[in-house]
Symmetry: C2
Subunit: 468 residues, 2 copies
């Protein structure tokens, strides 16, 4: 009996597959056109299943790569070393919504939007809302410390995780913290697991804190004739003490592509427009929201914006958000692309944008830029379009991307704001971390996973290659 048959016998026939279509499905996520086949897919149904699988993999030195909904943009869930693809889609129960304590406990396979709606029905709010919220899993959100538009006012996933049940490489399960809002009891294991991309253990339960649901919101779209000016307006709005719940930047080309590939969306763009800011304000008091919008409008006027569209219905709001949220997917429909999840100090966003464009000219690539401008987080989609495979995988483009990341570092930033490092960004880690720093992270990894079976080949630059 080979190890896959042994695992099937251990876990049960209905929870494993070695069928070609299952292996192929779990070989890819949303990252470029990458594919790495696992040797077997396993669907655990509870913590005990994960413990059994983990123990088995430890005993047999088989690599184990957790997979959520496959919406990742850094290839974090791709089983580059084969082995087991641990598919969390059947661990999808909302275990408890505790209204008394404004907390909820979920399994990692719950879809972000399903959870948001479930807690909203109780008057509670779970803010983190990645663009893929309609399909992405909460477990994946935690594994990458995902953000989303509402991170500006409300923080990212990490700010809502208060406790995690994790299965360690030994097969033991522990809770990393307590179900409290404050905790100074030993090291913060909870936050060490958030963003660890399945390399330290497998998350099997998540406890989120929740907040009161804001009752009302307003949405406006401001058009700019110059993209760098749009970026400048961002800091200015926030420096006035105004606090929008979202402040999203979109280059014109991003909006054009989102509209072009979706027949059901009609949207007119004037010739002279170069970029947009999509701005949301929320709260409970209509008057206060109106006042905030007025304040923002005044700042926009100072930056020469003449055209501000106020969404006047739920439908119109949904249309504008759909344009913003679908950009990544529509860019992918247009061309293979590399996603760079750049993040800098907010005030330096204009320099980042103009720098990215300059670097593109020098290194011969086209980028479509958009993202969470209020957080200084700009998604740079480098599109393949007419580039040859040699150019696409060549040293020149890689050097261009390195230039972008060097610029990020210079502007107080780093190479990923919310997508994680996974497979595709690991070779750039040395642009923002010293070898000492990377080795420290490696040591932590070894502490949790001495056999190196947990999502191997991720986060850490290959030894002896990238660092000099």
């Amino acid at each position: 009996m080979d190890w896959k048959e042994q695992l099937e016998k251990l876990i049960g026939r209905d929870k494993v597959s070695t069928k070609s279509e299952d292996l192929t499905k779990n070989a890819s996520d949303y990252t470029e056109n990458l594919a790495y086949l696992p040797e077997i897919v396993v669907w655990p149904e509870n913590t005990e299943d994960v413990q059994s699988i983990m123990k088995f993999c430890s005993d047999h030195h088989i690599s184990l790569t957790a997979r959520g909904a496959g919406t990742g943009l850094s290839a974090g869930s791709l089983p580059v070393a084969g082995g087991v693809s641990l598919d969390m889609s059947k661990m999808n129960r909302i275990i408890e919504i505790d209204e008394d304590n404004m907390q909820a406990t979920v399994e990692p396979g719950v879809i972000n939007e399903d959870f948001r709606q479930a807690v909203e029905a109780r008057g509670l709010f779970y803010p983190p809302d990645p663009a893929s919220k309609g399909s992405c899993f909460l477990g994946g959100n935690v594994a990458h410390s995902s953000g989303g538009p509402k991170a500006l006012k409300y923080g990212t996933t990490k700010d809502y995780v208060i406790n995690l049940e994790v299965v360690l490489a030994t097969g033991e399960a522990i809770w990393t913290g307590s179900n409290t809002l404050k905790n100074s009891t030993g090291y913060n294991l909870t936050q060490l697991f958030v963003g660890s991309e399945g390399t330290l253990g497998i998350i099997t339960k998540i406890v989120f804190r929740l907040i009161a649901l804001p009752q009302k919101n307003a949405l406006m779209l401001a058009s700019f004739t110059d993209a760098v000016t749009a970026c400048k307006a961002v800091s200015s709005i926030l420096q006035q003490g105004l606090q929008p719940s979202a402040l999203e930047f979109m280059e014109r080309s991003a909006v054009d592509i989102a509209v072009k590939y979706q027949d059901q969306i009609s949207f007119e763009t004037k010739d002279e427009i170069d970029a947009y800011l999509l701005i949301e304000v929320d709260g409970n008091e209509e008057e206060l929201i109106f006042k905030e919008c007025e304040g923002i409008h005044e700042v926009l006027e100072q930056f020469g914006v003449s055209d501000v569209l106020f969404a006047d219905s739920a439908d119109q709001k949904e249309k504008l958000w759909k344009i913003r949220r679908s950009i990544g997917e529509m860019v992918k429909a247009h061309s293979i692309y590399k996603e760079e999840d750049t993040v800098v100090k907010r005030f330096h966003l204009p320099e980042l944008l103009s720098g990215v464009k300059e670097i593109g000219k020098t290194y011969g690539f086209t980028s479509i830029c958009y993202g969470h401008a209020g957080d200084g987080n700009l998604h740079v989609n480098i599109i393949k379009e007419n580039m040859s495979d040699e150019e696409w995988n060549g040293a020149k483009l890689e050097e261009g991307i390195r230039e972008i990341f060097r610029l990020c570092k210079k502007l107080g930033g780093t190479i990923s704001g919310e997508h994680g490092i996974g497979l595709v960004q690991k070779k750039y880690m040395n642009e923002v971390m010293s070898e000492t720093h990377i080795q420290l992270l490696r040591n932590i990894k070894n502490t949790f996973d001495p056999l190196g079976i947990l999502n191997p080949g991720k986060i850490f630059p290959d030894l002896g290659l990238e660092t000099t």
Copy 2:
């Protein structure tokens, strides 16, 4: 030349002392009446000094215990193994307040309140406000992930730290993250250092995010004839979607002691009053603050409160806050006490309070309780008063404290919400963590500090003693 003379030669005569009064001063903090003398006190003036000292201590296997203002309540800064007391009081510069990006960079020896005032002068707000804010250092706040009344609305220290410069045991210095609001680049070293109590490395610079300063606030004091009812009102206020900026609970005995030991404070308490809630609301719009206060008042009425005092001047607000903030110090003036920093799910606060009182009766101790009720964080001051030294250090009291912590765990909580584990709570760690969990934390510690020189004897239960 012995090692102390060598260290003096290395760092400079004016930065070290082996004088008795300096050793004595750094032997204690605010915890009970504990004292452990260091062998030498060193005052580094910059990161390079810390690096030199650390390298020296590594080379000579000498233990190194960082010390802030000495306001700690878990004896975290006490040099239980002798060696070097690394006194951070001369690293007290506010390096930069970056208004454009709403961030600030400071050295660890800056006093919390000095920093708050410096950023407020620029219209910015640093919310974390431990009771000792007038003297405690920001470095100590980070080392313990300190809270304070404003944690309820604004979060604790950890929620404001975005990047740290730390000196590792090797003497190398790294930045743990980037100066951005979001970061998904490798493991969250920043949050691993927050709350690590000087056991993983020495914090030499801190980058905080800041928020816009709320312009106005209101403060009210509600009197209850029953303390458990006061605790019940807490959850109810928050469940209405009301969001006070502070929601503090004080037993009558806590207020009585704070008033008794401060001649300058006069405060009348009616005979029938058993407890108080001190409730602050902040914001920019007077009307909205008023509306929140009204909403809170309605809830208070439902809980039978007839007596609500609205502070009508800055002086009166300051007086009420002074009563709250000085309780710990005044309890200490009254008697040696053990501080238990209990924290549970907020809704279970009434069960915690009545449980603590029951346990006190069973195990023969008196407690004075107060704290951040909105966070489920209750400070239990167990006072020595007429207990003999044998009783005070005996097995019965320890078992009583264990009972309190078992109750915390049962109510979804843990043994420290904001004070840290340090020396005095380490023997209770096994009440909330399995041996597997504790060993994992030990392994992390060993990764950073293989020689075991960084603040030895803290956080981890002594091997072979407490766990069974």
